[in-house]
């Protein structure tokens, strides 16, 4: 089967999935409560008639199936509607926040992946050495410590006490953070990334290291490694060409999953660092029952995960000849 045909078939399978997920999300959202009631609860002077007028205005009085069909009609035209708060188009909100989240997530995912390569290989080669235990301990620390705790501690130490790094936001503008006395937009952006990216990298690192270590230990025990040694291949080449190539498959899966969950990935970290990203916006939208924004972000996450799954499956077939995309 051709690759194009394969992708087309997988894309067609995604359609019912996307519709199913949107229906479930829609129903759960409506079961959660009434956004108008929530928004006006603190206002004693508002009357029930005025509330009803608001509901009428936002189309919330129509039967739920009708509202869903209206939403779906907009969705297939790539329009997520307007936020209930402020009336900004959801498409616009998402596109401004999207890049900030992707930036933070990609940096953390790639850092975790790249750091885990030497760490995982070394742990496997020097199994049960002091270094192996140290790497494992750091990894387990990263998994066990909650991100909000670590985030707050880092802010307290590096921002509040030492004043080295900014504590919140993705940009300092109009006040740019001085990096060794230099004020520059790019440096300002990078310096804002340091703390949240550290927290997310530490949280993701452990899985990568443990997976690679286990994979390497398994592969290094195989007879084809012995056979390679017996044919006189250098240890270095055995390590990278034979062992790593075979041990890295689970890491590729993890990478695919992480990229899929990227958007949904870091609501807590984004909240702790006041990061202007989709994760924080998602939490805020859910708390305020901002229906169009909730649906918009949910659908973006769904599509990202489905596409990442497809790419992971294709990467698998490319890496491992035993797996075919048919």
């Amino acid at each position: 089967m051709g690759l194009g045909k394969y992708i087309a078939r997988r894309a067609i399978y995604m359609v019912p999935l996307i519709i199913g997920i949107s229906i479930v999300a829609f129903l759960v959202m409506y079961a959660a409560g009434d956004p108008i009631q929530l928004a006006t609860a603190g206002n004693p002077s508002i009357t029930e008639a005025q509330r009803n007028a608001l509901r009428e205005y936002y189309g919330l009085n129509d039967p739920i199936p009708m509202q869903y069909v209206r939403w779906l009609d907009h969705f297939v035209h790539a329009d997520f509607g307007k936020s209930l708060y402020g009336g900004r188009p959801v498409n616009e909100i998402i596109s401004t926040l999207f890049w900030e989240t992707i930036k933070l997530q990609l940096v953390s995912i790639l850092l975790a992946f790249l750091i885990s390569l030497p760490a995982g290989i070394y742990s496997a080669l020097k199994q049960r050495s002091a270094t192996d235990y140290t790497i494992s301990s750091i990894a387990i620390f990263g998994i066990s410590v909650p991100v909000f705790w670590l985030g707050i501690v880092l802010i307290l130490v590096f921002s509040f006490q030492l004043g080295w790094l900014p504590s919140a936001g993705a940009h300092g503008a109009p006040y740019l953070w001085p990096v060794f006395g230099i004020r520059n937009e790019t440096l300002d952006e990078l310096v804002h990334l340091v703390l949240p990216a550290t927290v997310l990298t530490l949280a993701g690192l452990a899985y990568n290291v443990r997976l690679l270590r286990a994979g390497m230990l398994d592969v290094l025990r195989q007879d084809y490694i012995m056979a390679a040694r017996a044919s006189g291949i250098s240890e270095r080449k055995i390590l990278y060409k034979y062992a790593l190539k075979n041990a890295i498959t689970p890491l590729i899966t993890l990478l695919g999953i992480s990229i899929g969950y990227m958007i949904a990935g870091a609501p807590i970290t984004e909240t702790v660092f006041s990061w202007p990203g989709l994760g924080r916006a998602y939490v805020a939208a859910t708390l305020r029952l901002d229906f169009p924004l909730i649906m918009g972000i949910t659908m973006i996450i769904t599509i990202m995960i489905l596409v990442a799954n497809l790419i992971t499956d294709m990467a698998y077939a490319w890496i491992d000849p035993r797996i075919s995309i048919e």
């Binding site: 049960r128 050495s129 002091a130 235990y133 195989q222 007879d223 084809y224 012995m226 056979a227 390679a228 040694r229 017996a230 044919s231 006189g232 291949i233 034979y242 190539k245 075979n246 890496i319 491992d320 000849p321 035993r322």
Partner: protein, 334 residues
């Protein structure tokens, strides 16, 4: 042995101890040693197949790996064509190492784990050409096809991946890979133990054919006595890291002397329903190689053992031409 010719391979006083670590939380501590191979001596001549038999875990595979320096020996010597192989592998120049790697090869026990799943058969068999550069790249294809033919596979198999083959076919690929460097000596580590009986005979015949065609020498490691008998000219019996008996195949199978060898032989099925089999059952389990028994290592399971056996270590004594036994009371069993 009144053989003045230099043997192809000589193993002298070879020892391998593996450290045993305590299960400490932070620091590891050596708490003992596995006596995997304990002071063994033997020689293999050109064009000869020597069988090495013994129970699982008695050190057979480790012996093979030590000869190829895939495991580092604790002490002892391996002489290949009169030259110190261990020294060459550990300290020799790149060129010397590669020459020795070309001379000695190994076929591993498990054909399912000895082929890289990501490489095609062509890549696997031509890999040695790439490393040793003893075949120019425009001849690779021809040579790979020739090797495939030699082991009874077809040229079109070259483009396939290992998972598309059966166990027997994989073992043939392993043999072809070992032959790619034109070795003179191959260590065959239980090459048929994971194969169906119907395929065993094919692989054994292939191994013997190659000896006739290419003048190969083998160390044939196995726990399957009937295949050892079929293929080897000489057989050594190993027990807990030591060689307890060594003789020509005929003598060993006709007149085994060591009580352990006799117990092993009695377990070989005889294809005659009328003949009553007299199986000698050994009491107990194989002792731990971490704490091998004192004196003769076989004494706790030997029905003839005396107090001498638990105190004094027997030496390998000659009982006949080409027949050596390590037992205090061998004269009782001749």
């Amino acid at each position: 042995m009144i053989d003045m010719a230099q043997p192809l391979l000589e193993v002298k006083d070879l020892v391998k101890y593996f450290p045993v670590y305590s299960r400490g939380i932070l620091m590891k501590k050596v708490v003992g040693q596995v006596h995997a191979v304990d002071h063994i001596n033997f020689a293999i001549n050109e064009c000869e197949t020597v069988g090495l038999v013994g129970e699982s875990g008695c050190g057979k595979t480790t012996t093979g790996k030590l000869i190829l320096y895939l495991e580092r020996p604790t002490s002892g010597e391996v002489l290949f064509q009169g030259r110190d192989a261990i020294k060459t592998f550990s300290k020799g120049s790149g060129e010397e190492k590669m020459r020795l790697r070309r001379a000695m090869q190994m076929v591993f026990q498990n054909p399912y784990s000895s082929l890289d799943p990501r490489m095609t058969v062509f890549d696997i068999i031509s890999e040695p050409f790439k490393i040793h550069k003893h075949v120019s790249s425009n001849e690779w294809k021809e040579r790979v096809y020739k090797l495939l033919e030699l082991v009874g596979l077809e040229p079109y198999h070259a483009e396939r991946y290992p998972h598309e083959f059966s166990g027997g076919q994989r073992q043939r690929i392993c043999i072809a890979r070992a032959l790619a460097v034109n070795p003179t000596f191959i260590i065959a580590d239980e090459p048929v133990s994971s194969l169906d009986v119907s395929i065993r005979a094919q692989i054994l015949n292939l191994i013997m054919d190659l000896q006739n065609k290419l003048g190969m020498s083998y160390l044939y490691i196995s726990h399957d006595l009937s295949s050892v008998r079929q293929i080897s000219q000489r057989v050594m019996v190993m027990y807990l890291g030591e060689i307890v008996e060594s003789a020509t195949t005929e003598k060993l199978f006709d007149r085994p002397v060591h009580p352990y060898t006799r117990a092993l032989m009695s377990a070989v099925p005889i294809p005659d329903p009328k003949r009553k089999m007299n199986i000698i059952l050994l009491p107990g389990e194989v002792p731990s190689p971490v704490n091998p028994p004192s004196g003769c290592r076989f004494h706790p399971r030997c029905q003839y053992a005396t107090s001498k056996c638990s105190q004094e270590k027997p030496v390998l004594a000659q009982v006949d031409v080409d027949h050596y036994v390590s037992c205090h009371y061998y004269h009782k069993f001749i």
